[in-house]
């Protein structure tokens, strides 16, 4: 009945749906794939076959996957195929494979946050988002590499080894959702879930040339997301274009009675209709983001993106971002404080790594943790313990909470004037492996453009906007007001309809 191979289908679909500038390796977008599945031009099993094949062939070079879930994926595929055959409407992404960052709990599939500390841990429950994916008929195919416990910006710190950027294997994929970005960029999976605490979706998207959304805090349930910093963490979609990401965000933004901080009135429902222009839209451009420390090519690409919005009818308004000097300290104090508490539960007794060298209860705790956590995780746990400790709480943690309030207020005022804020995602394109890992402070400061959205709880998209002279992808960030995802997606569509940057794919014949 269904005989076409993915490549055949894709060849056909390319002719009418993909921009002509693309001539190399082909793969459909998630929505295109879902349409093919719905039309029964291809089966779910064939789709899985294709992607598992691609992973097998390509991922040894990228190291983006930590675990594959072939068996459960095939079982789920069978169920979904039956429903598709009966023309049951599951969702706009029914039958589409998806891979999940390793810090999102998947029942029966090991979930280790890329850490030795959680080595061998297999969750006995699904994260709320995973339940929603399954209900929507999506097929979970595996777990994606990341920085240990999502602490980092290079996906080099995990137990599974570094993720390689598909555009240049000698470079990092960004982080912490580096596995998600690399896998999607290399078309090893049409969509992925990442998590973003201080830029962990947006920065790897920028480094790998894909699209991602960091939703408003409280728009997507965190139940089952293994916490790094609870008041900042948010799960979001990563895909090859904004439409795929929007379709996925719609699915995962549904209600969750288990997460007290899920506060959406109702799940997102993004309109299909799409304007071509953005007349009347005001976009703020924080000029002090373009001062010291930013790569010239990155800066220029973002300014070109701003120009594109201007061409589409938007007004670009330059302004000075207030409190910029305080953003990184505020973020790291709060994130590390919460992390130090969130990561205290790992002791080797209930799950994960148990030291073989311990003789007393105290040693079980200390040795299991010391052997289980990597150096960056230890650094953040200890920093967090410090800023919460008696004598330092007021000067650091409490001060940071106040700075956060000031920053939030500043954003509120900015969004009275602007619909969006356009900015770089990271100061550079993807750097070489090992380049920044030895200088934690430098790594922290590189989060300057992304952490503001997390501190203020705001939604932000990361969109590809070209390539630098070394052929590495560049991205920019568009930040919106709280719960204004629909507006952000509309603006992103306008941008992607006018540009082809997101359509470029890396060669994967390594």
């Amino acid at each position: 009945m269904i005989t076409n191979s993915v490549t055949d289908i894709v060849e056909n679909s390319v002719t009418h749906s993909v921009a002509p500038s693309i001539t190399h390796s082909v793969a459909p977008s998630a929505l295109e794939l879902a349409a093919l599945l719905k039309a029964k031009k291809i089966s779910v099993a064939e789709v899985l076959d294709h992607y598992f094949g691609a992973i097998e062939k390509t991922d040894p070079h990228l190291n983006s996957f930590l675990a594959l879930a072939k068996e459960s994926a095939l079982a789920q595929a069978k169920i979904v195929q039956e429903k598709l055959n009966l023309n049951e409407t599951l969702s706009s992404l029914a039958g589409v494979p998806i891979a999940i960052k390793d810090n999102i709990s998947t029942q029966g599939i090991k979930t280790a946050c890329a850490s030795k500390m959680l080595d061998g841990y297999v969750p006995v429950y699904d994260a709320s988002v995973v339940t929603k994916l399954k209900q929507a008929g999506m097929i979970v195919i595996g777990k994606l590499n990341m920085d240990e416990f999502a602490m980092g910006g290079s996906s080099e710190t995990g137990i599974g080894g570094p993720v390689h950027n598909p555009w240049d294997l000698s470079r990092v994929a960004g982080g912490s959702s580096g596995g998600s970005a690399a896998a999607v960029a290399a078309r090893l999976v049409p969509l992925a879930l990442g998590s973003d605490t201080g830029g962990s979706i947006r920065q790897p998207c920028s480094f790998c040339g894909i699209t991602g959304i960091k939703p408003t805090y409280g728009a997507v349930s965190r139940y089952g997301l293994i916490a790094y910093a609870s008041s900042l963490d948010q799960i979001g979609p990563m895909g090859v274009n904004i439409d795929d990401c929007a379709a996925l965000l719609k699915i995962i933004s549904g209600p969750c009675e288990k997460d007290s901080t899920w506060v959406l009135d109702k799940p997102f429902d993004f309109k299909e209709s799409q304007p071509n222009r953005l007349d009347g839209v005001k976009i703020g451009l924080p000029i002090n983001y373009f001062a010291d420390g930013i790569d010239k090519e990155v800066a220029e690409s973002v300014l070109r993106a701003a120009k594109e919005f201007e061409n589409a009818g938007a007004t670009i308004c330059e302004f000075e971002m207030p409190l910029l000097d305080y953003v990184i300290p505020t973020y790291y104090i709060i994130a590390c404080a919460e992390a130090s508490s969130n990561l205290s539960r790992y002791d080797g007794l209930k799950y994960g790594h148990l030291s073989k060298n311990a003789n007393t209860l105290d040693e079980i705790y200390r040795l299991s943790r010391s052997e289980g956590f990597g150096i960056e995780t230890k650094r953040r746990i200890m920093l967090g313990s410090f800023v919460l400790s008696s004598g330092y709480y007021e000067a650091y943690y409490q001060k940071a909470l106040k700075a956060r309030a000031l920053l939030k207020k500043a954003y509120d005022q900015l969004f009275e004037q602007y619909n969006f804020i356009i900015s770089p995602v990271a100061p550079t394109s993807a750097y070489r492996h090992g380049e920044n890992i030895t200088d934690p402070l430098k790594m922290y400061i590189a989060d300057l453009y992304t952490v503001g959205a997390n501190l203020a709880g705001l939604p932000a998209v990361s969109l590809p906007c070209g390539f630098d002279s070394e052929g590495l992808p560049l991205g920019f960030q568009l930040c919106g007001n709280a719960f204004k995802e629909a507006d952000l997606i509309m603006a992103s569509r306008v941008y992607q309809a006018r540009t082809g940057h997101h359509l470029k794919k890396p060669e994967v014949d390594f």
Partner: protein, 477 residues
């Protein structure tokens, strides 16, 4: 040695386990004595990625207690994390309230020899209980998470107590309030009511001394012993010129002494910070007044109503309110139209005796208040006599019989028919000439014997007054 006397200064931290159906942050049942780790889910066992969701009843219970203890209710309160590593705490932090507890600045009045005294309550906060550890020399530390997440209220007093008598009166009153509010079963032995003691000693008029915290007090008796022992220990040290170390001590009730816990457990830096996984609370006026309206009548309120409205003796009012089940029964019985004083006698006397005989706790009492009310009315109206009353009460208690049917079947209705009584009396007088002559010769006791015999002849149904009158008439005739 100085002649000024040593004074003891005591403050309490009382922990009350709440009687909610489910735990504070998950839907597992709260219970006592279940098989290990059978009332556990990913949330209360601290599995990675799980999140808490607050049980609304916990907030309501806290507000109930706060209102009764004259506290200010914190309209905008929130939860904080208290961080420490211990195997009974699977998340390695306890969700509690440090920075803005739900209730503040209340008080409770206690009775002392010098009269009433106010004990200030600095705060009441909500928190989760930890699990239970079993330390076994062979197997090591065994971890049972059933109790993890059981809701607790911690009631913190100011250091207003001077001795164990005051502390015990406070605890007794607190226990009574918790039970009457139906928010805690108040059982110290089972650990549902726990108490830590902060104690220091000082010379009269001096500044507060260094205090110790005493834990592991499982009974009122242990509380009293521990206070006595610790006050003595501190006084002796200070009298010798030594100094008190601020530390946490553990009471060993078997040996009647306390010892300091490991220094590590003493030098704690809990790194409290606002719990990011829970939203703050906003307690509206409407909610507050709804809870105010729903507050049940408390023991002391019942006692004054019983005394003032129903003329019950102070002794009986205490006996009735000693256990809420008895007070509830009393209220039910009088609601069914029974005479209050007679009802109080019945419950404090016969019903308590029957409970004791049956080995039942008042809580386990299942008796139809309507039937008791009926019986009380029958005895008051003189339709049955005391012994028939007692017998029928026992039958109702044991077999839930219908009182009227029972009385009729057994022929227990009181005999007021003069002719029948006279007939029985005549027979008794004839059969007992000795007693008759004894009475005539001035031995008044003989009359009692004759009344008893006549009652017996009437199978216990005679009206004792009427029998006596018939016999006296005979002698005076």
């Amino acid at each position: 040695m100085s002649k000024t006397a040593w004074e003891t200064v005591i403050g309490l931290e009382v922990h009350a386990e709440l009687l909610t159906g489910s735990k504070i942050f998950c839907s597992c049942a709260t219970s006592f004595g279940d098989a290990p780790n059978t009332l556990v889910c990913p949330i209360c066992s601290g599995m990675p990625g799980t999140l808490p969701k607050l049980n609304q009843s916990v907030v309501e219970y806290a507000i109930r207690l706060g209102l009764v203890l004259n506290c200010e209710i914190t309209k905008n309160c929130k939860f904080d994390r208290k961080n420490y590593f211990y195997p009974d705490l699977p998340k390695a932090y306890q969700v509690s309230q440090l920075y803005s507890p739900i209730c503040r600045n209340g008080y409770l009045e206690i009775e002392t020899e010098a009269g009433q005294k106010i004990i200030r309550i600095s705060e009441i906060h909500m928190e989760e209980d930890a699990g239970k550890l079993i330390h076994d020399k062979r197997d090591g530390t065994l971890m049972d998470f059933n109790r993890c997440g059981t809701p607790l209220l911690e009631i913190v007093t100011e250091p207003d107590f001077e001795n164990e008598v005051e502390v015990l009166d406070f605890l007794e009153k607190m226990r009574e309030i918790l039970v009457y509010l139906n928010i805690c079963d108040g059982k110290m032995q089972e650990g549902s009511l726990r108490c830590d003691i902060n104690l220091s000693v000082k010379k009269e008029g001096a500044e507060l001394g260094v205090r110790t915290e005493m834990k592991n007090l499982n009974s009122f008796k242990a509380v009293a012993r521990a206070i006595g022992d610790e006050a003595l220990r501190q006084t002796q040290i200070l009298s010798r010129g030594g100094f008190i170390v601020q530390e946490t001590r553990r009471w060993d009730d078997d040996n009647g002494l306390s010892y300091a816990m490991r220094s590590k457990e003493n030098a704690q830096d809990y790194r409290y910070f606002p719990e990011p996984d829970l939203l703050p609370l906003n307690i509206s006026e409407a909610w507050l007044s709804e809870i105010k309206k729903s507050l049940p009548e408390l023991a002391h309120e019942k006692r004054s109503r019983y005394q003032n409205d129903h003329g019950i003796t102070p002794k009986d009012t205490f006996a009735l309110t000693e256990d809420k089940s008895l007070a509830d029964l009393f209220d039910d019985v009088i609601k069914n139209g029974a005479d209050p004083q007679e009802s109080a006698h019945l419950i404090c006397g016969e019903i308590k005796r029957l409970l004791n005989t049956a080995g039942l706790a008042p809580k386990e009492l299942r008796i139809d208040a309507k039937k008791l009310a009926q019986l009380v009315n029958l005895v008051i109206k003189g339709e049955i006599n005391r012994s028939a009353y007692k017998e029928t009460v026992e039958a109702v208690f044991n077999f839930d019989v219908c009182p009227l049917e029972y009385i009729e079947t057994k022929g227990l209705r009181m005999q007021n028919d003069d002719n029948l009584i006279k007939k029985a009396a005549a027979y008794v007088l004839e059969e007992n000439p000795g007693a008759v002559s004894d009475y005539r010769s001035g031995k008044d006791k003989a009359l009692g014997f004759l009344i008893g015999q006549t009652m017996k002849e009437l199978k216990g149904t005679g009206n004792p007054g009427a029998v006596k009158k018939v016999l006296l008439d005979y002698f005076e005739a």
